[in-house]
Symmetry: C2
Subunit: 368 residues, 2 copies
């Protein structure tokens, strides 16, 4: 918990490093995604692995989202405990302990769905469910080119669907295929072309399964970089974007300014050791760098890089152009919000330079 912070506190009084939501910008981003997808008739099922907050999940559901995605069972447990019903776990579940937890969760929350991508996983899931009287809705995960998890489209997917049909506790309800490798392609026509190609593999397999007698109600795909493209592809029923809610440097560089930068890490200058350099209190434990460097907000001449766990270096070329002293504060825009949010216990929600709320990152660290 962030201590000493209460709704009504001025932004300028916040201790640092603090992860700050620009509330109006976040609200606009949610509305923009819904407005852009709605005309296609496709549903939005936002991916909450990014925001990890039931509060934000509910804002999205109120704005018209179909349900939510999470990456991990432990995230689903958090969301279900906050009365969210329609939850798709987008990662395969394996291991005895985890399967037992899944069965317990689905028994109480039948809207929890999972993906499967191989016979071994299907059979282990069936066996776990047989020890109970529970059934579960499953989606086949297809590898549409990402090369991560997923059964191959076409015949292998058909064979896996038949395997699911032979089980008594699994009901096949759909297909998932995520083109994660295409999210950050900068040339929009290349992104669109390759995405359409990937999604076609998904929708063609959905059609083949329907011809084989399977009821495929859900065809789910897409991220922040491809959601609008996917929603225009015939046969897609829902999209799974997550990062649009706050954006980050990596997505901004890839897809442009269609959504606002709504999340920053507020930091303080702790040292001015040399001309043209300042050291801030935000390092690798406040801001992730797995997708590049965070960017100082409103300081175009200043660059940031981490100098260890708890230090960050700001540097600029012309020392007279930037005035930053010990105790001064600035905001840093994360390069990758998923891994940055996962470092922090709380969001500080700010509107008109006042704190309007403290929202726990309730699913932070829920990797199991």
């Amino acid at each position: 918990m962030i201590s000493f912070v209460r709704a009504g506190d001025p932004f300028d009084s916040l201790d640092t490093p603090a992860m700050v939501i620009d509330a109006p910008a976040m609200t606009d981003n949610i509305a923009a995604m819904m407005d852009r997808i709605r005309p296609t008739g496709v549903h939005v099922r936002p991916h909450l692995k990014t925001a990890k907050s039931p509060t934000i999940a509910k804002l999205m559901l109120q704005a018209g989202a179909r349900g939510i995605c999470v990456a991990k069972l432990a995230e689903a447990e958090v969301m279900a405990a906050h009365s969210i019903d329609d939850i798709l776990i987008t990662t395969e579940i394996a291991g005895r302990s985890k399967l037992a937890r899944l069965v317990a969760l689905v028994r109480e929350h039948p809207g929890v769905k999972v993906v499967v991508d191989g016979e071994a996983g299907v059979i282990a899931l069936e066996q776990a469910l047989r020890q109970d009287s529970t059934t579960i809705d499953v989606l086949l995960e297809l590898d549409v080119g990402q090369g991560r998890c997923g059964v191959l489209p076409g015949a292998p997917a058909l064979a896996l669907a038949e395997c699911v049909r032979r089980q008594s506790r699994l009901r096949l309800v759909g297909l998932q295929g995520y083109e994660g490798h295409l999210q950050h392609i900068r040339e929009s026509h290349v992104r669109e072309e390759r995405c359409t190609e990937a999604v076609t593999r998904l929708t063609e397999t959905a059609e083949a399964l329907r011809r084989a007698g399977f009821e495929i109600a859900i065809v789910t795909t897409g991220g922040t970089g491809t959601a609008e493209i996917c929603a225009r592809c015939p046969g897609v029923t829902e999209v799974q974007p997550g990062s649009f809610v706050f954006m980050d440097v990596a997505y901004r560089d890839a897809i442009g300014p269609g959504y606002a930068q709504a999340l920053t890490v507020l930091s303080t200058v702790i040292s001015r050791p040399r001309p043209g350099e300042a050291v801030v209190d935000a390092g690798l434990k406040s801001l992730s760098t797995d997708m590049g460097m965070p960017v100082p907000k409103g300081l175009p001449d200043v660059r940031y890089r981490p100098l260890g766990d708890e230090h960050g270096l700001l540097c600029w070329a012309d020392d007279s152009a930037v005035a930053l002293d010990v105790g001064d504060r600035l905001e840093l825009i994360p390069s990758h919000i998923d891994t940055t949010i996962n470092l922090h216990d709380d969001y500080v929600v700010v509107s008109d330079r006042r704190v309007t709320g403290i929202w726990p990152v309730a699913a932070r660290g829920k990797v199991q």
Copy 2:
């Protein structure tokens, strides 16, 4: 909290990803560091920014450590709340809110010390203390070549010491200089040569300050890569290693097998999509990659890389040489333990393949 885990549980029943301590190896590492430094007469003040656990801090104090280091005030608050007295905060403190918290902490815990590296910081600290009746022990931080925080050795340090002397609530007790840029130099003679040179700047400035009438009781430096070198340098009074307690791939590659790999992240294979590849449930949110890739333990032919927040790819050249199926488990050795530990809420402590304890990473996320 990790659910469903209790002391006595078999290692093979743990859910994953789980951060696991090999308890005998950790105990050996603590004993080894103490044994190697003891003959020099130099004290060990381990850096708890790494382990972030009061339980582990106390094991080190029982083994003979002089006190502890932390990087952040919030870490010091956690350690002080667990009755640890002698705490050096190794990072400069700035900002009104944080200075108020520091004053409150030092009032109750006079063994808390901080570093300063500039007049602005000294004066802000003095002003915060004047609103109370509290005094504080401070160390000058010197830049001994790292180029992060720190006043320069020699005349600038002397001027800053004079500035501290003019204050009424600050007592100068020592010098800190950290050669963080030298920790991972692989050629041991180069590391030793450059470290000795850096430490000489520190000890020469300590001597100059003593000649100017300052009582410099503490001269503190060193990390896991340099602690033994520093301890042999005349004039050093204590060393600050942290990572030796568990080690990691980056330190092992740099300094060799002098300390054992005592921390792993246990993970489960969730998919076997292609020959020579397996996908595990540990990605960027379970294992940091800021200092390179984690390494599968006991599987020399298998390489790991993250495939997103919650996926990791294992690959190997000869598919017949490695048998890994869905549900199988393996341990991954972190590349950088500081940032990996900070992702997890708990340590699972294991001895003889049985769980002997669950230790919270009590200072996890304490960046403020």
